[in-house]
Amino acid sequence: MNEHRRQILQMLADGKISADEAERLISASEESSGSSTETPFAPTKTRAKYLRVQVDTEGERDNDGPTKVNVRVPMQLLRAGVKLAYLIPSATLQKANMAMHEKGIPLDLTQIKPENLEDLVEQLNDLTVDVDQKEAGAKVKVRVFCE
């Protein structure tokens, strides 16, 4: 066990930090130690296989106690799903463009190429969304990430 991890666990044992904070610090220290050993010319980024969505709720909102939702969607499904956009007829895309322009969204869907959509899914590898919300005595935590 390295010194950083030992210190973090000691802080956790002393009650100076919460379990969540400890987890975050350990993952951050692992990332930094991992990146320090990487050579700049050899990226070790692996292709994500799944998109994960985790929702944890705890509090007084319902009487059933904490609720956990865990969704794992294969990235392959997303890749196949975005390809459905190729099937949209151009007349429909024009209609969608007009509707978006009316709403003030200056986006031309006819200009989106299949490669753009695939790039979009590829970029999801680096996506992490963390939402912590506390309202009316209930705590909601949402995490979206790729693994």
């Binding site: 059933d64 904490p66 609720t67 794992r72 392959q76 499904l77 099937l87 007349a91």
Partner: protein
């Protein structure tokens, strides 16, 4: 490969787990003749909508293949449910 089995697990407040294995390959076998019967109509509908029918079929196949390993879990103190496509 297209998914062959889906597993649905249900847990009640007494921590009793009920697991149901759904043989999806039987569903595909049942849908196959229906798909063949409907293929002319699907073909005409695709042409009417100016969609390449072969591309549509290929994409549907890709989506079916990609469904494998999809997992959904909802856990609560009193109950739980999970759905896993194998």
């Amino acid at each position: 490969m297209i998914p062959f089995v889906a597993v649905v697990s249900l847990r009640n407040h007494q921590s009793r787990t009920f697991r149901l294995w759904i043989p999806l390959f039987l569903v595909w076998l049942l849908l196959l003749p229906l798909g063949i019967l409907l293929s002319p109509f699907i073909f005409v509908a695709c042409l009417f909508c100016r969609v390449n029918p072969f591309r549509g079929v290929a994409l549907t196949w890709q989506i079916l293949n990609a469904l494998t390993d999809t997992r959904l879990e909802v856990e609560n103190r009193s109950a739980g449910m999970s759905f896993h496509i194998l």
